[in-house]
């Protein structure tokens, strides 16, 4: 994927194409926003974008594992849903490292219009031909115009090859190529894999489809745990804790610059950390279904929304993969707080058969003055 040419994403609008310039992960305590060219003003479409990103309504978090983004575009995007497919593809390309930024030489430019359902099927939009007519030929590379399957057929124009797409799989194949698209899709969580399998089942004879779905679903699941494993590579490289179920790590915050440092594994026998912390991360590798929980508790809990400092995850792991849960610390708190990581390994009946709890006292002020 790293050697693939960069792809520029243009959202087709009736006022002309709008380039997706940058996508950046943002603090989970805020809402996703779309801004124009790095400005401080969120576009009115931002609440809809937040809902499009964040689970349970959104689809982007399901793909990337992160709930909040700040996305910069070159010009305003009006209300409506026709930006959704293009924005989803931009997130996919960002995740794959192939999203072209301003100034990058793009091997391909895609101009996209289409809504997107939670099942990742492309939904119809209006003014399709008008949006294409407003676009000049791309400056560099191949130009592809993607629009919803089922719309009136659109002819190729100067610089743009027009292709209808029924779902995300179609779009990714066109943009990344068949092999790269399959590789990308297999790395997605099972919930996304299920959608892919259901599309495939309509394209194959029933018997073949059943076999394919089984293989694909298993592969998607394996890809999911491998992805979790790869996203936690810092944790693994830092050693972690191989003694119990829970590996606990923290990223310290530089008290001067405020920047987050690398993850540091917390050995099982350590229960105090002195200094500010950006976030804590727990992971479990034991095969089976886990119910994981992380909480940050302290005097500040009485005046904040406590749900922000409590995260839970219940999911299966297996095949050498890890389940990872991460929680941000309240950066403004200087009093000691407790980071508590708990997990329960669930039996076939859903009841816990084994549990483990780790607690770490964090003293953001370094332990002095309290």
């Amino acid at each position: 994927m790293a050697t693939m040419p960069l792809i520029r994403v243009l959202i087709a609008t009736t006022r002309g194409p709008v380039e997706v310039q940058n996508i950046a992960r943002e603090n989970p305590a805020v809402r996703s926003v779309i801004c124009v060219g790095g400005a401080f003003t969120a576009l009115p479409v931002s609440p809809a974008y937040d809902a499009f990103v964040r689970e349970p309504t959104g689809v982007v978090e399901r793909m990337t594992g992160h709930p909040v983004y700040r996305t910069d575009v070159a010009a305003p995007i009006e209300a409506g849903e026709s930006w959704q497919l293009g924005m989803f593809l931009a997130h996919a390309f960002q995740l794959s490292g192939v999203l072209a930024k301003p100034g990058d030489a793009a091997g391909k430019t895609i101009l996209v219009t289409g809504g997107l359902g939670r099942d990742l099927k492309v939904t119809p939009v209006t003014h399709v031909a008008e949006k294409l007519a407003r676009a000049d030929a791309p400056d560099q590379g191949e130009g592809v115009f993607l629009y919803p399957h089922g719309s009136e057929a659109i002819a190729d124009t100067d610089g743009w090859q027009s292709l209808p797409v029924a779902n995300v799989r179609d779009a990714l194949k066109i943009c990344l190529g068949r092999e790269a698209a399959e590789r990308f899709l297999l790395q997605q969580p099972p919930s996304v894999g299920k959608k892919i399998a259901s599309w495939r089942s309509r394209l194959r004879a029933p018997v073949l489809a059943g076999a394919f779905i089984s293989i694909l679903f298993f592969s998607a699941f394996a890809g999911f745990v491998l992805r979790l494993s790869s996203t936690d590579n810092k944790t693994q490289s830092s050693g972690g804790n191989a003694v119990g179920l829970i590996s606990l790590s923290i990223a310290a915050r530089d008290p001067v610059s405020g920047e987050c440092g690398d993850l540091v594994a917390i050995p099982p026998d350590r229960n105090v950390f002195k200094g500010p912390v950006c976030f804590g991360r727990m992971s479990v590798a034991e095969r089976g279904e886990h119910r994981m929980r992380m909480t940050i508790d302290g005097a500040f809990s009485s005046y904040v929304d406590q749900s922000r400092y409590r995260r839970e995850l219940q999911r299966m792991t297996g095949g050498g993969g890890r389940l990872v849960l991460q929680i941000d610390f309240p950066y403004w708190v200087r009093e000691p707080v407790s980071l508590i990581a708990e997990t329960e390994l669930l039996g076939m009946d859903g009841n816990p058969v084994h549990s483990e709890r780790r607690a770490l006292e964090v003293m953001p002020g370094g332990g002095a003055g309290y």
Partner: protein
């Protein structure tokens, strides 16, 4: 002595029509022939429109004038205070001197750092009770000095979020426990 009744005094619709037409005339006057006069009086209707929708053309104009003119600032403050949805008083000093949450029964205001910490911060207003009215204007009032106002975008779900440069004076006020806030 009681004032004599005028035609329409008992007619609610006529009253509403009178108020609307007066406000309309008020704004038209302000926006048209008197527009070039810098220190002209600002009509009541313009203040009301500013509070109702500070991002409108009239609202932005009143807020810009409030920055430059003490009389407009004072009038807007008085009106905002009268119709405020939330009063957030000065608070006890935070342990680290950097306040990030202020709260009343109805509203919570909080600051959140962006991952790109050098550039901006997020100012968030959330409605905590069952009420549906959301503020369109946040006013920070320092213990000494001039207030700082920020227009808030319209909310559809009881939450409002603003992005502010990390050196924005509004943020400084927020972190200052001696300052107080109005949500109008």
């Amino acid at each position: 002595m009681t004032e004599p009744k005028l035609p329409g005094d008992d007619d609610g619709f006529a009253k509403a029509l009178f108020v609307a037409s007066s406000a309309d005339r008020d704004i038209r006057l302000w926006l048209s022939e008197a527009a070039a006069v810098e220190d002209k009086p600002v009509p009541f209707a313009a203040f009301v429109q500013c509070l109702a929708d500070p991002e409108s053309a009239t609202g932005r104009r009143v807020m810009e004038m409030a920055v430059r003119r003490p009389d407009v600032r004072a009038a807007l403050m008085t009106l905002a205070s009268r119709f405020a949805l939330g009063h957030l008083p000065a608070v006890a000093a935070a342990s680290d001197g950097a306040l990030a949450v202020r709260e009343t029964d109805a509203f919570r205001m909080r600051l959140e750092a962006a991952y790109d910490a050098g550039g901006l911060a997020y100012f968030i207003v959330e409605r905590l009770d069952d009420g549906s009215d959301m503020p369109r204007l946040a006013i920070g009032i320092p213990e000494a000095g001039e207030p700082v106002m920020r227009a808030l975008p319209e909310s559809v779900d009881g939450g409002v979020q603003l992005m502010l440069p990390s050196d924005d004076p509004f943020l400084h006020l927020f972190r200052d426990p001696d300052s107080r806030f109005l949500l109008a």
